[in-house]
Symmetry: C2
C-alpha cells in the first residue's frame, strides 16, 4: 500500500448549502463538528463556502455569519463549487437552483421528495448530461437507508413489492387513535401540540407526502418513471374511532400504507411480458402479526419483497433534523468520494418503462361497515348484491341496534373496480341506510 498522504493538506472540496431550517441547520452543524472524520473518510477536506437563506441576519450560533447569503442563484452559479446540498424543499426555486448547480459542474444532494416526485426526470437527465451525481437518500423515510438498498443492493434482484409506512405524522395519529381510542381530530390536535404535525397538516394527513415518497420508491424498485400523478392517494381524515375499533376486533391495526406493486406476468414463476406497476397510498387494516403493525409513533418502516432475496424490512426514525441530516451527510460523503475518484454513482434507471395502472385494477380485500334495516332477508339481499358484482364475501358480522343493524363484511380478494361498483349498488339498496366505511385489508 502506498503510504497515505495527509488528506487534510489536499485541496478541499467546496460545499454550498441551500436552506438553513431544521434540517439545513443540523446539516451545517454536523458538517462542521465532524470535519476531521469527513476528511479522513473522503480523502480530502470539505470547505463550507456558502449557505443560502431566505432572510439574512438571523442569529445562528457557531456558524460564521459571512457564510450566509440570500442570493442562492449566484451561489449555485459559482463554478468552483463541488457539492451542493439542497434542503429548501418545494418545487421552486429548488428546481432552478438544482439545475443551475448541476449545469455549473456541482454534484447535488437533496432531501426534496416533492420535487423528485413532481419532476425527477428533468433533474436526473440534467445530472446525467453534466456527468454529476444527484443523490437523495434523505427524501424518503428520513435516516432509514432505503434509496441506496433499492438502487444498489437489490439491483441484481427483481423487486416485486415495496410496502411502507412513510409518514411519521399520520403514523403517530393512527397509533394514538389505536392506543387511546381517540378520534382523528383529537389525535391530530395532540400531534400538532407535540410538534409532530404542522399547523397546516394537509400534506401529511391527505397523503401527499407519502405519495411523493411512494413515487420515488416505485421508480427505483421497478426501473421505471413513476411520478406523483401516477399514485392513487387517500388520506386518513375519514378514518374513525369506529374503524380502528373494528380493525382491533379483527386482530388488525390501521396504518397509512404506501403500496408499490409489480403485477404478475402470467407465467408460472410470475415473470412474463406486460407486467405493470401499481402505486397507492391509503389507510388499510393489517394484521397485528405483520412486521409493519408494530411500527409505532413517528417511526417509519419499509417492507420490500423481491424474487430472490425474499422479504426484507427496514425500520427507523422517518423524520427530524438529526436523522434527516444523517442521511444527507451520508450522501454528501459518498458523492464527495465519487468526486475525489473522478467518478459518478449510478444514475436513473428507467429502462423497464413499466406501465402504471390505475386503482381500478388493484386487487385486495376489503372491510365494509353498513347500516342496514334490521328486517328478515336483508343479508340475502346484500349478499346477492356482492355476488352480482363478482365480489366474494369472506365473513359477515351483524350487530343489532334499535330499528336497524350494523353489518361488518370482509371480502375475499377483488378488484377495486368491482368493489367500487358493489358499494355504489349497495348505496342504492332500500335496506342499506348508509355505507359507514370502506377500508382495504392488506398484508395477508
Amino acid at each position: 500500500m502506498t503510504p497515505p498522504s495527509d488528506p487534510g493538506s489536499l485541496p478541499p472540496l467546496r460545499v454550498a448549502v441551500l436552506g438553513c431550517g431544521t434540517v439545513g441547520g443540523e446539516v451545517v452543524r454536523l458538517l462542521l463538528a465532524q470535519a476531521d472524520d469527513f476528511t479522513a473518510r473522503i480523502g480530502r477536506p470539505l470547505e463550507l463556502v456558502g449557505i443560502a437563506v431566505r432572510r439574512a441576519g438571523k442569529e445562528r450560533p457557531g456558524i460564521d455569519p459571512a457564510l450566509f447569503t440570500t442570493d442562492a442563484q449566484t451561489l449555485v452559479s459559482r463554478t468552483d463549487i463541488d457539492l451542493v446540498i439542497e434542503v429548501i424543499g418545494g418545487i421552486e426555486p429548488a428546481r432552478t437552483l438544482i439545475l443551475t448547480a448541476l449545469a455549473s459542474g456541482a454534484s447535488v444532494v437533496t432531501a426534496n421528495k416533492a420535487l423528485l416526485a413532481e419532476d425527477g426526470a428533468t433533474l436526473y437527465d440534467a445530472a446525467e448530461r453534466a456527468g454529476a451525481d444527484l443523490y437523495y437518500e434523505a427524501a424518503v423515510a428520513g435516516a432509514i437507508p432505503i434509496v441506496r438498498p433499492l438502487r444498489e443492493s437489490l439491483v441484481g434482484d427483481e423487486v416485486t413489492a415495496v410496502i411502507g409506512i412513510l409518514n411519521g405524522t399520520t403514523n403517530f395519529i393512527l397509533d394514538k387513535m389505536d392506543t387511546e381510542g381517540a378520534g382523528f381530530a383529537e389525535a391530530l390536535a395532540d400531534a400538532q401540540e407535540l410538534g409532530y404535525a404542522e399547523a397546516d397538516p394537509t400534506a401529511d394527513v391527505e397523503g401527499f407526502d407519502a405519495a411523493a415518497k411512494a413515487a420515488i420508491l416505485s421508480s427505483l424498485a421497478f426501473h421505471s418513471r413513476v411520478g406523483i400523478g401516477d399514485v392513487h392517494r387517500e388520506g386518513i381524515t375519514e378514518v374513525t374511532a369506529a374503524d380502528i375499533a373494528s380493525a382491533r376486533e379483527m386482530g388488525c391495526v390501521v396504518k397509512l400504507l404506501a403500496i408499490c406493486q409489480l403485477s404478475d406476468g402470467g407465467r408460472p414463476d410470475g415473470t412474463g411480458p406486460g407486467r405493470t406497476v401499481s402505486v397507492r397510498v391509503h389507510p388499510a387494516m393489517i394484521p397485528r402479526s405483520h412486521p409493519l403493525a408494530g411500527v409505532g409513533g413517528a417511526y417509519n418502516a419499509v417492507f420490500v419483497e423481491s424474487r430472490f432475496a425474499g422479504r426484507l424490512m427496514f425500520y427507523g426514525p422517518g423524520a427530524g433534523g438529526s436523522p434527516t441530516a444523517s442521511a444527507v451527510l451520508g450522501d454528501l460523503v459518498t458523492v464527495a468520494r465519487n468526486r475525489v475518484r473522478g467518478a459518478s454513482g449510478p444514475g436513473e434507471s428507467s429502462y423497464a418503462q413499466r406501465v402504471v395502472t390505475g386503482i381500478g385494477d388493484v386487487v385486495t380485500r376489503y372491510h365494509l361497515s353498513l347500516a342496514v334495516a334490521d328486517v328478515a332477508g336483508v343479508l340475502a339481499t346484500i349478499a346477492h348484491c356482492f355476488a352480482e358484482h363478482g365480489v366474494s364475501i369472506q365473513t359477515v358480522r351483524q350487530q343489532g341496534r334499535e330499528g336497524d343493524a350494523q353489518l361488518v363484511i370482509v371480502t375475499h380478494r377483488a378488484t377495486d373496480a368491482a368493489l367500487s361498483a358493489t358499494v355504489d349498488a349497495l348505496r342504492r339498496l332500500d335496506v342499506v341506510s348508509e355505507v359507514t366505511s370502506v377500508m382495504r385489508v392488506e398484508g395477508e
Copy 2:
C-alpha cells in the same frame, strides 16, 4: 439527453465464478436468467466465461458444460476477465484466488466472511493497490443490505453500536427451544433434519460464523480493523431449557447476539479521545419488547445505533442460496457499473484505528442461577459476596427445593471482570453447591 445506444451491442464485461455449490449454482442461474435486465442496468452485457469447480463432470442443467474448469488458478490469472465472483468459502484457496484475480485486474465480489474476518486487510490492500473493487455484501446477514448502509449510508454519521442476530442456525435452535421447550440437543437435531444446521454444526453453534460477521461489521461501523481474533466468542451449546424458561419468567427471550460497541469518550455528548471498541458474540437474554426479540426462525436482523440517525433496524433472510445470490448479484451489478464508468467504489476505511478492548471491560447486566443450601443466612452470605466485588443486585428470586434452593439473581450493570470474580468467589462458598448458569441481559 443523448439518445441511448443499445447497451447489448457494446463489448461485454467478462465474469468468472469460483464455486458452484448452493450459492454459486444459484448465482449462475440468476445471472443467466436476468441477462437482459443486467445489460440494461449496467449499460453493457455480462459474459460468463468460466466457472471453477472442485470436481468436473457433475450435471448442472442449463449451464454450458464448456464453462466448467477445475483449474481455478488459471481462470483467475486471465487478464481479460473484468469481474470475479468468489463463493468457494474458507481461507485457502479462496485467498490466493482473490489476490490473483485482483492482481490480474479484475474486481471481486465475495461472500467469504471467514476470509474477510481472518485476513481482510490483505485483501483490502490488494484491491486498493490494483484500483479494483472488493465488495462483500453477501458475507454478512445474507440478503439484508447491511454492508452498504454501514459503508455508505451511515458514513456521514457516527455509529455507536451494532447489535445483530447474524446466524440463522442458532436463531432457529433457540427459537425452537423457546417455543417448544426443547433442549439444545433435541433442537439441534431438528435443525439438522430440516437442513438448517450442518452435520458438523461447530461453526454455527460455537459462534464462529457470527463472530466472523461481527468482525466485518465492526470494522465498517467504527472505521477500524477488527479481526475475528478480536471478537469475544461464546456459543449456545450450554444454553439449557432452564435458562430459556428463566428468561421467559423475566419477560425475556434468549438470542445469540453479536454486539459491537463504541465506548463513551468521557465528554457529556459521549465524544472525546480514547474511545475504544468492544466486539462479542454470546447468548443473551433480551426483553420480548425489543425489536430483535421478534426475529424468529432462521431470519437475521441487525440493529444499528448511531449518534444522529438514531436507531435503525434491518431484517430479512440471513442465509440460503437465493437470498445470498441476490446480495452477490447486487454487488456484481454495482461493481460492473463502476467498471463501465472507469471508477471504483469506496475502499477500506480504517483511519480511526480504534483499540479493541477485551471482554473484561464490557459493562452489562447478568442473570445467574445458583443452587444453594436452604438454610438461614444464605442470602446474606451471597449478597455480601456480590457487594464485595462491586456488583449490585437488582432482583433475587428464591425457589425452595428439598434440601437446597434455587436462587435466581439479576444484577445491575457491572463489568465482565467484576462479574467473573464474583462467580469465582460464589463457587468457593460452602453454601453454594453450584452456579447453574450465568447469562448476560442486554437490550434494556
